[in-house]
Symmetry: C2
Subunit: 345 residues, 2 copies
């Protein structure tokens, strides 16, 4: 009864923007779980800017995806068969399931393992507001940015899955929150739905000028998802002892050659400011704390979040590019199927 | 009995390297101290890279020197006349006396005031190892860099007044210390006299390659006095959770147009590293603690320091350039005169 497993493998390393031909589709028999393992069927795939970095052949916080390997991705799936004492067929789990229908894995909470979707929570949230995306916002803002009530917090990619959550957490800390997003629709969502105090449209506004108007006392915390020229503009508007939380730099992920950095790093000296990078992987041991807090805020209506859900196995590689063109609003997902209710529990 | 006061005024803002014609010399009658003030004769002038920034007309941590004003500089001088209850003629003091023979000032410890040179200490040390230079190294390394015993600390401008002290303090914390300096003579001084573990000659070595050899586990703390391409090379060699202490960026102080920054700031994310600027002015309230510690280390022979002493009032503007050409080794000073012993006490 071996099932067919469709997969997208890395065929060649992309140069610049990801092209469909950078990946290769194949079908193989489903893996058979060994003793202590479980077989999982992917239902939702998560698309994250950091995946672009995994395609580069250079040292980073995780090894690069190798040519011929299944593309790495966070997924939510359902247990098909379990030879692990802690998991049963039908349970919903999340982990690094990759661009494929089926995968076998050990249990446990390591990078190769899967965790259970808590009861009563829409499963796809575990890839977004309650997943690495939201947890990144939670620890990056609170632990690295350390905003104080009354301070001004600036968030780029403010309509994105991480930025929108970071800004809303900042509002809940009593901060004045300014977003930066691309286009009037996203900016409207940021102020009207996510209730930021203001939003700068980097595609149409003069970011530096608007920062001066909207942040007259300077920026106390900048949650930076984009890098590039916006980072340079913010460096000219730092409040004393400002903190720049380096979460990512999507503006440069498709660059073939590394671009020059900001010309005004010396403002960090003048403003006695701190710029600090972080990775959510360092906070996995505290993930439950973050999920509990975030779920409370979501259920209370204090944090809103959006999901942009694509469909179709054939559309997986193209969906990654939506993050870089900015077509998505909120968390980018692709749904492969519905949970099978008869198997649950 | 009014004395003549020679002064160097800012005549025009330098573009690029400082030219003698950027300053104008004049002689005026000495100021008469008002009630509560004292008249001080400058004996030693301090030359510091940060003075180049004071010549630019842009917001910074101190107001720019204005056209027609006496050039700002740290000095050690001797009280000529006092109308302040805490000071007597003959006492040696230090403060921002400027490029002139004589100045009147209030007492007290503010930026406009002067402090007394402690008894038994060579007065010029208050401009170097016990002055803002040494105190900058002390707080920058210990409070911002926070090195741990056994870690690798890298210091640029390692033969300079601040870098040499920062590296020696790091050695006293039990760290492995690597310097970067320009030319074999300075590198020899750094390893043989200041007892760094190694020194890279940025004028002749491939800095990135040497960093890889000398810091095989990466750089835990980088005390950065120069910015520029060396900062970029270090960003490629950071240890996990590294700290970059931004003290200054002398490589760019003479730039007419701001230069692009490092292309690899994203390494701060991958390495979960922190880059932080600071100013010694924020630590003035703790200056006595630093001076006491530094003096103890100097007297014990644990910290060595050099003074490069120029002479002649006419040579003051040209002496500033010695910091940028790298002609100096150690603290750059210019001596205008000797203390008058009959007036002391």
């Amino acid at each position: 009864m071996s099932e067919t497993n469709r997969q997208w493998l890395l065929k060649r390393r992309p140069v610049g923007r990801v092209e469909p031909d950078d990946f290769e589709r194949r079908s193989v028999p489903a893996p058979e779980p060994a003793d202590g393992e479980l077989l999982v069927r992917n239902l939702w795939l998560s698309f994250d800017p950091t995946q672009r970095g995994w395609l580069q052949d250079r040292p980073s916080y995780l090894p690069p995806v190798q040519i011929g390997e299944v593309m790495r991705a966070s997924t939510v799936g359902q247990v098909v068969r379990s030879r692990h004492p802690d998991f049963e067929a039908g349970e919903l789990v999340f982990g690094l399931g990759g661009w494929q229908d089926l995968f076998s894995c050990p249990g446990g909470s390591g990078l190769a393992g899967v965790r259970k979707v808590p009861a009563g929570v829409p499963p796809s949230w575990l890839l977004g507001v309650l997943g690495l995306t939201g947890v990144t916002a939670y620890f990056g803002l609170l632990e690295v940015g350390r905003p104080q009530a009354g301070q001004t917090v600036l968030v780029s990619a403010a309509a994105g899955a991480t930025g929108s959550v970071a800004g809303q957490i900042a509002r809940l800390q009593g901060c004045r929150v300014v977003g930066i997003a691309g286009g009037p629709d996203k900016c409207r969502w940021v102020t009207e739905r996510a209730r930021f105090d203001a939003c700068i449209d980097y595609k149409h506004d003069d970011v530096g000028k608007r920062l001066g108007e909207l942040c007259p006392s300077g920026v106390d915390v900048y949650f930076d998802n984009v890098g590039g020229p916006i980072l340079e503009a913010v460096l000219d508007r730092l409040a004393l002892r400002a903190r720049i939380v380096l979460c990512g730099s999507i503006a440069s992920y498709n660059d073939v050659e590394p671009r020059p950095g900001p010309r005004n790093l010396s403002n960090l000296v003048v403003r006695r400011a701190r710029m600090e990078g972080f990775l959510v992987l360092d906070y996995l041991a505290r993930m439950e704390e973050a999920v509990r807090e975030l779920l409370g805020w979501v259920r209370a209506g204090e944090i809103v979040h959006e999901e942009d859900i694509q469909h179709g196995f054939e559309n997986i590689p193209a969906t990654l590019n939506r993050l870089f063109t900015g077509e998505n609003l909120g968390k980018q997902l692709l749904q492969l199927g519905e949970p099978e209710p008869e198997r649950v529990g």
